[in-house]
C-alpha cells in the first residue's frame, strides 16, 4: 500500500510536471474567469442601452421587483398583456415573464392576439383554465409526439404533470442561479478538452519514451502501476474539475446574486418536466459534470493505452466527445441511436437536455435521461477501466 501511494505521487508528478498540463489548465481557468470578468467590465448594446451585462441585469432586477413573489396565474399574465399594449415602461416588469414563459408556451398565438382571452381562444383553452399551465401541457404533448414517445412514456409524464408540486409557480428573479447553471455547458466542454490534453500521455508516454521496458519488468509495474496511474489521473480530474466548477459557479452567484435558488427551473424552461429548482439544477449539473469528467478521464486513459500515442488519443477524444455532439444532432426518429447519442454529458448538462422527455426503460418502470445519465457514466467508467487494464496487462514490448 505504501508503494501504491508513492507510485500515485510520482504519477501525479508526471502529470503536473508537464508544461502542457499547466497551459491547458491555465487556459480553461482563465476562460471561465474571463466569462465573469467580461460580464462586469465590457460595455455593449443591451436592449438598446450601452451597458455591461451586470448593469443590464441589475436594471432588469429592479424592473421586475413589482412581480417578484407573485403567483404566475391568469391575473398576472393578463397584467402582462395589458402592459404590453400600454407602454414600454409599463411592460418592463413583465418582460422576462412574457418573453420567457408566456411566449414560450403559447407560441405566436400570444403575440398575434395580444390578449389573454384571445390567446386562450386561439389555442382552444377553456376560460376557466390557467393559460400558462394549459398551454404548457399542450406544448409538452406536442413535444412528446415529436420525440416519438411511446404511450407508456407519455402516461409516465402525464402523471408527473398531474402531481407537480411547484405548480402554480411563484415568480422570482433567478438570473444568478440561471447563469451558474448555464455555465455547466461551457465548463464541461472546456474540462473535456483540458483532460484530453493533460491525461492522454499518461500511458502513451511510457510506450513512446520506451520506459515501458523498465516499468513492466518490475514487481509492481503491471497490476499496481496500472491502478496507480488510474488513481493519479482520477485525482487530477477531481481536483482540476472541482476548481474549474468553482470558478464557473461562484462568480455568477456573486455578480448576479443568489436570489432564485429555490425557484423552479420552469421559470426559464417552462416546457421542462424535470422537477428541480435552480439550486438543485446547479447541484445536479455540477455533480454530473464531475462524474462525466471521471468518465472522460477513464476513456482518455483507456485510449492512451490502446493507441499508445497521445496525439491520436487527444484527437479521438476531442473529436468524438466534444466536436461531434456539438455539430451533429441525431433525429428523434432514430430513437435508440438518438437517445444513446444524447446521453453524451455535454447534452445532458446543457439546458436543452432538460427538455428531453425520452425515458430509459428499466425493470419496474422508467428513468429520466437525467437519472440514467450518471448511472451510465459510472458503468462506463468501470468498462473503460477494465478494457484499459486488459490492454495494459497484455502489452508486450515488441520490436522497435
Amino acid at each position: 500500500m505504501k508503494n501504491f501511494r508513492t507510485l500515485v505521487r510520482f504519477e501525479l508528478k508526471k502529470i503536473l510536471g508537464r508544461k502542457m498540463t499547466w497551459i491547458a489548465f491555465g487556459i480553461v481557468f482563465l476562460t471561465m474567469v474571463a466569462n465573469a470578468v467580461i460580464e462586469v467590465t465590457v460595455t455593449r448594446d443591451i436592449k438598446g442601452v450601452q451597458a455591461t451585462q451586470y448593469e443590464a441585469e441589475q436594471q432588469d432586477k429592479e424592473n421586475q421587483k413589482p412581480i417578484i413573489g407573485r403567483i404566475v396565474d391568469d391575473a398576472l399574465v393578463e397584467e402582462a398583456f395589458h402592459a404590453l399594449t400600454t407602454s414600454e415602461t409599463a411592460f418592463k416588469p413583465y418582460t422576462d415573464l412574457f418573453n420567457v414563459v408566456v411566449r414560450e408556451v403559447c407560441g405566436t398565438a400570444a403575440l398575434s392576439s395580444g390578449t389573454l382571452e384571445g390567446t386562450k381562444e386561439a389555442l382552444g383553452i377553456a376560460e376557466d383554465e390557467e393559460l400558462v399551465y394549459a398551454a404548457r401541457k399542450m406544448r409538452i404533448e406536442s413535444a412528446m409526439a415529436e420525440q416519438y414517445l411511446t404511450e407508456k412514456e407519455k402516461a409516465y409524464w402525464r402523471e408527473v404533470l398531474e402531481n407537480e408540486d411547484s405548480v402554480p409557480w411563484t415568480y422570482e428573479y433567478y438570473v444568478g442561479p440561471y447563469s451558474a447553471w448555464a455555465m455547466a455547458y461551457t465548463a464541461i466542454v472546456m474540462i473535456a478538452i483540458m483532460l484530453a490534453v493533460c491525461l492522454a500521455n499518461l500511458f502513451a508516454d511510457e510506450h513512446q519514451k520506451k520506459t515501458d521496458q523498465l516499468v513492466l519488468c518490475s514487481r509492481n509495474g503491471r497490476k499496481m502501476l496500472y491502478w496507480a496511474k488510474l488513481t493519479a489521473g482520477m485525482v487530477f480530474t477531481m481536483v482540476s474539475t472541482g476548481i474549474i466548477l468553482l470558478v464557473s459557479v461562484i462568480p455568477q452567484l456573486i455578480i448576479f446574486g443568489a436570489e432564485g435558488l429555490h425557484a423552479p427551473i420552469q421559470l426559464n424552461v417552462p416546457s421542462s418536466m424535470v422537477q428541480m429548482t435552480f439550486g438543485e439544477a446547479i447541484l445536479y449539473s455540477y455533480v454530473v459534470t464531475i462524474i462525466a469528467a471521471l468518465l472522460y478521464a477513464s476513456l482518455i486513459l483507456c485510449c492512451s493505452e490502446l493507441f499508445r500515442n497521445s496525439t491520436v488519443a487527444v484527437v479521438a477524444i476531442i473529436g468524438v466527445l466534444v466536436l461531434l455532439p456539438m455539430m451533429i444532432m441525431v433525429p428523434y426518429e432514430y430513437r435508440v441511436l438518438g437517445q444513446i447519442f444524447d446521453l453524451n454529458p455535454i447534452n445532458v448538462v446543457a439546458i436543452w437536455g432538460f427538455l428531453d422527455y425520452r425515458l430509459v426503460p428499466v425493470p419496474g418502470g422508467f428513468l429520466t435521461m437525467q437519472q440514467a445519465a450518471p448511472m451510465v457514466y459510472v458503468l462506463l467508467v468501470v468498462v473503460f477501466m477494465v478494457i484499459g487494464r486488459r490492454a495494459y496487462l497484455k502489452y508486450q514490448v515488441g520490436g522497435r
Binding site: 505504501k2 508503494n3 508513492t6 507510485l7 510520482f10 508528478k13 508526471k14 510536471g17 508537464r18 513512446q208 519514451k209 520506451k210 520506459t211 515501458d212 521496458q213 523498465l214 516499468v215 513492466l216 519488468c217 518490475s218 514487481r219 509492481n220 509495474g221 503491471r222 497490476k223 502501476l225 508486450q396 514490448v397 515488441g398 520490436g399 522497435r400
Partner: protein
C-alpha cells in the same frame, strides 16, 4: 539458483527472432554476442517477462517469468530506453524503487548507495533532461541494481560510457557475477573477454556457441568476426 530457459522460440509473421533456445544459467557472468538482428534483445526481453515467447518457458528456481516474485528478483537495463524528463535522478531511482517493491527507507538507502556507486551524488537532484548520455546510462545501471537482483540482464550496458567508466563498470559487473546471474550483451568483445565466465553467441535467432572461452580456443574477436564473414560469403 538456476535460470532455466527451455526451448524458447519467438516467431513473428515472417521471421523467427529466437529459435528454440535452451539454457541453464547459474551464478556468474554470461556474455551474449551477436550481430544486429541476431535475436539478443528479443531473448533478453523474453527473459525479463516483457515479451511472451511463442513457445517455451523461462523459470527461476521453478518460478515462472510471469510471476510477480520472479520480477522482484530481476534487474534489467534495456539497450535503448527513455526517462521521465520532469524527474530528477533521485526521483527516478525512488520511483523505480517503489516499482520494485522497496520500502521508503530501503529506497532512500539504496538510492544514496547507488548514486555514490555510479558517481552521481552531486547531480542527484538535477533533472534527468539535463544529463549527458553517459550520465543517463549510469542512472540506468543504478536502477537495475536497486532491488539487489538475483538475475541481472544488461543490454549494451557500457554503450555511451567513456573508457574509464567502461572499465569501472566492467569490474562492477564482474563483482556482481559472484552473487547473481548476469546476462550481458555487447558488441565490445573485449568486455566479454575480460569478465564473462561463459560466452553465448547468437546468429539468426539460434545459439551457435555456448561455453567457457579458453585461451586455447584462440582470439574470441576473430571467431566472432568469422561468423559475419561466413554470413557475407
Amino acid at each position: 539458483m538456476e535460470l532455466m530457459i527451455d526451448r524458447v522460440t519467438k516467431r513473428y509473421e515472417n521471421k523467427i527472432a529466437v529459435d528454440r533456445i535452451s539454457l541453464k544459467l547459474h551464478k556468474g557472468v554470461y556474455g551474449l554476442l551477436g550481430a544486429n538482428g541476431a535475436g539478443k534483445t528479443t531473448l533478453m526481453r523474453i527473459i525479463c517477462g516483457i515479451l511472451k515467447p511463442t513457445e517455451g518457458t523461462i523459470t527461476l528456481d521453478g518460478m515462472d517469468v510471469s510471476e510477480e516474485n520472479y520480477r522482484a528478483r530481476l534487474g534489467y537495463l534495456p539497450q535503448d530506453f527513455g526517462y521521465y524528463p520532469e524527474f530528477s535522478g533521485l526521483d527516478f531511482l525512488m520511483y523505480m524503487a517503489a516499482l520494485k517493491g522497496l520500502s521508503k527507507e530501503q529506497a532512500k538507502r539504496k538510492s544514496a548507495e547507488l548514486l555514490k556507486l555510479v558517481a552521481m551524488e552531486d547531480v542527484a537532484k538535477k533533472k534527468i533532461k539535463t544529463y549527458s548520455g553517459g550520465m543517463k546510462q549510469r542512472i540506468g545501471i543504478a536502477q537495475a541494481l536497486l532491488n539487489d537482483p538475483e538475475v541481472l540482464i544488461l543490454d549494451e550496458p557500457t554503450a555511451g560510457l567513456d573508457p574509464k567508466e567502461r572499465v569501472r563498470f566492467r569490474n562492477l559487473i564482474a563483482e556482481l557475477g559472484k552473487d547473481c546471474i548476469v546476462l550481458l550483451s555487447t558488441h565490445i568483445v573485449s568486455d566479454i573477454e575480460h569478465i564473462a565466465d561463459e560466452v553465448l553467441m547468437m546468429k539468426d535467432g539460434q545459439l551457435i556457441y555456448q561455453g567457457v572461452w579458453e585461451e586455447d580456443n584462440g582470439d574470441l574477436e576473430k571467431f566472432y568476426l568469422s561468423q559475419y564473414e561466413e554470413e557475407g560469403e
